[in-house]
């Protein structure tokens, strides 16, 4: 079954590239069919695993020798991977269906749908791998697929540079991840994930090893899940087609980072340093990205920053050992963020721009999009009864638990920041919602009347909206993921809900006060700073990119001038030596003989002095 999931996606991808150019209808069809088969397969796996008392199933016994510990080509499915698998393939299927309409007539459809398929297969490999290096294969293939898909419109400069940035930044983190895997393998004596987790639980890994491994793995996670300090690639990846953004943000790529921490949580748990660092990174990222989302003037950028912020929520939960809460939030976020992106794609499709100042007043012309996106924003803001409310509550509940007993400092930090960010989240969600659907139509693109999208696009949105409404019950089901649901923390729930409502209310008030202009204007002088994302890119440019460029140019100059001079010097010194010898051969025989006589006398003198010993 696990192989069915992988192979159906890969075969569909290969076929799409191989025969897709013969008929325009083939690639979409192949993409949807491949994703459909994979989805059915993963749902069957999920049903198997979600049944009570199901044990993890392993397949594959192949081994690759490395001269040391072998790499085992093994797939293993437990509840966590089954849930992730269902999420990934569901979103992939919906994205494939959605793309049929969204990218209709695109000449690059065959390669597009193929890379979406490979992307999904790679994510499936990541969640099912039972070996660190097999996981790494999926992890990196995902990176390159995202690179290709982000640069889908490669004639546009932002798409090109965004793709390069995404790939290089995640790759930087991945090197740390690779080293982390080395450390883990050496510490645990195996590269099998299940055995490493068992070793960590059994205390066979020392604290130092766990700290080193966890910190290095964290590098890769931070890169992949766009957390500080490698957070800036995700918003710049927005020039990619919107369905791709949905796929990257909801179910693959960024989710892989959270998944990996969840998977290796016992190792992280051995190291206070790593957990504290994780909590600090999560809190910093959470606040910063929520603020950036508040000031961003591009709808997809708002959503991108919100993803970064929500991922930080998950990491905050995991840093407190809240395995179930983190994964639940990952799943619920997958549903509503996919919804938000698909709805945003529908809006962008209709108005032809991504900028918020080109939208407004769309609720009448796009009613279905309006309703579904409203549900998505409500879930994002954490309002009941939508799915985001329950999972966010679970995260804050873990924080409250830890603050009360256990690691108090970390718990309080996450709790306070989490509640604060709940307010910010609902504020930016409300702002984006208002600016998209209310007020007057802004911008110059008014010559085209916005219209509702086709049902191929609306269908997936409606499905996801439905999931966002009813998913809450499923997420908080007790016993899910083998952990009893954290009890409801009524005070925390009430406080966070109040803060969230307060954030929304403040936004609405500003919206009214500014006569339906951007509520972010109320931020005053803070707004340009936030809109430029605290100039982090400039900082990275000054500290990393430009020095690297200098080093590269210096190296090239060194090669072409310095080294070339020395090598050329060897050339010409040979020539000069030859010229010197030539000069003595002037054809005067007497001078030759003179040289011979002088030489003979010199030899005689030397022998006379040294003596014929």
């Amino acid at each position: 079954m696990t192989l069915l999931v992988l192979l159906s996606l890969l075969i569909a991808a290969i076929l799409s590239v191989a025969v897709g150019h013969r008929d325009d209808r083939l690639p979409p069809l192949l993409g949807v069919v491949g994703a459909m088969v994979a989805w059915i397969g993963s749902v069957l796996i999920g049903v198997q695993q979600w049944g009570m008392g199901a044990t993890a199933a392993s397949t594959g016994t192949g081994q690759v020798a490395t001269g040391g510990l072998p790499i085992s080509v093994t797939l293993r499915v437990d509840q966590l991977s089954a849930s992730m698998l269902v999420l990934a393939t569901s979103v992939a299927l919906l994205v494939q269906v959605y793309s049929v309409a969204y990218l209709r007539g695109d000449p690059r459809y065959p390669s597009y749908t193929a890379f979406v398929g490979v992307f999904t297969a790679a994510m499936a490999l990541v969640v099912m791998a039972d070996d660190l290096f097999v996981l790494l294969v999926g992890w990196e293939v995902m990176g390159v697929c995202s690179y290709v898909l982000i640069s889908h419109h490669w004639e546009l400069e932002p798409a090109r540079s965004g793709a390069v940035k995404a790939f290089v930044m995640t790759r930087l983190g991945d090197i740390g991840l690779l080293f982390g895997f080395f450390v883990l393998g050496k510490a645990a004596g195996t590269y099998r994930i299940s055995e490493i987790v068992a070793a960590a639980r059994g205390g066979e890994i020392t604290g130092h090893e766990a700290t080193a491994a966890a910190l290095l793995v964290l590098c890769g996670v931070v890169g992949k899940s766009a957390q500080f300090p490698l957070h800036s690639w995700l918003p710049d990846a927005m020039p990619g087609p919107t369905p791709i953004s949905a796929l990257i943000h909801a179910a693959t790529m960024v989710a892989a980072g959270v998944f990996l921490v969840a998977r290796l949580l016992p190792v992280f748990g051995l190291s206070d340093v790593a957990m504290n660092l994780l909590a600090a990174i999560a809190c910093l990222t959470m606040v910063g990205s929520a603020l950036f989302a508040l000031a961003a003037d591009d709808l997809k950028r708002v959503l991108a920053w919100s993803t970064v912020s929500q991922l930080a929520y998950m990491f905050a939960a995991l840093s407190l050992g809240g395995y179930a809460a983190g994964v639940e939030h990952l799943l619920s976020h997958g549903a509503f963020k996919a919804l938000l992106f698909l709805a945003a794609g529908s809006v962008i499709h209709a108005v032809g721009t991504q900028r918020l100042d080109g939208m407004g007043g769309l609720r009448t012309s796009m009613p279905v999009t309006f309703v579904t996106m409203t549900i998505g924003f409500a879930a994002l803001a954490g309002l009941p009864p939508f799915v985001g409310f329950f999972s966010k509550d679970a995260v804050l509940g873990v924080a409250a638990d830890q603050a009360a007993n256990g690691s108090a400092a970390r718990g309080w930090l996450v709790l306070v920041v989490g509640v604060l960010v709940a307010g910010l989240t609902s504020a930016y969600a409300t702002r984006a919602w208002l600016m998209t659907f209310f007020g007057p139509r802004r911008g110059h693109a008014t010559d085209v009347a916005p219209h509702e999208s086709s049902w191929l696009m609306l269908g997936p949105m409606v499905v996801l909206a439905g999931l966002s409404v009813v998913g809450g019950a499923a997420v908080v089901k007790p016993g899910f993921l083998g952990v009893d649901a954290e009890g409801a923390h009524l005070p925390v729930v009430l406080v966070s809900l109040a803060v969230a409502l307060g954030g929304a209310a403040v936004t609405v008030v500003q919206w009214q006060r500014l006569r339906r202009a951007d509520p972010a204007l109320a931020l005053g002088r803070l707004r340009p700073v936030l809109a430029r994302e605290a100039r982090y890119d400039d900082l990275v440019g000054a500290l990393v990119v430009r020095p690297t460029g200098w080093a590269a140019r210096f190296t090239r100059l060194n090669e072409e001038d310095v080294v070339e001079t020395y090598v050329g010097g060897v050339d010409s010194s040979g020539q000069w030596a030859a010229r010197l010898v030539r000069w003595t051969h002037n054809g005067n025989a007497q001078r030759y003989v003179t040289a011979v006589v002088i030489g003979a006398v010199a030899v005689a003198v030397v022998i006379g002095v040294v003596g014929p010993s």
Partner: protein, 115 residues
């Protein structure tokens, strides 16, 4: 007779020969210088042979060889000098520079050397 006398004479002969070969410009004189050097060697060979009381008289034998070779050499040398005189109308050693290593007009090699 002490060994010293013939050795001094032969050294003087050899020195004069070297001087003539190195300094004189006339080719025939250079050949004569070579002869002087060869005969200095002969004198040495004979003197050492007598002093050594060599049973095989190898010094004298070798001297005979040298005389034979010197005769052949002077014949060949004079022939060359004659040819040189016929072609150059002079036998001035200093001006006989045909063996000098001069630049050949080879464009590719010149280009390679200059770069």
């Amino acid at each position: 007779m002490p060994l010293l006398f013939p050795l001094v004479v032969s050294s003087a002969l050899f020195g004069i020969g070297v001087y003539v070969v190195l300094a004189r410009r006339h080719a025939v004189l250079v050949l004569m210088g070579v002869e002087l050097m060869l005969n200095a060697v002969n004198l040495n060979l004979v003197a050492f042979d007598a002093w050594w009381h060599d049973t095989f008289d190898s010094g004298q034998v070798l001297a005979l060889f040298v005389i034979a070779i010197a005769a052949a050499e002077i014949g060949l040398g004079l022939a060359i000098v004659l040819v040189v005189f016929r072609t150059h109308r002079h036998v001035d050693v200093d001006n006989l520079r045909e063996l000098a290593d001069r630049d050949a007009p080879d464009p590719e090699r010149v280009a390679g050397a200059s770069s």
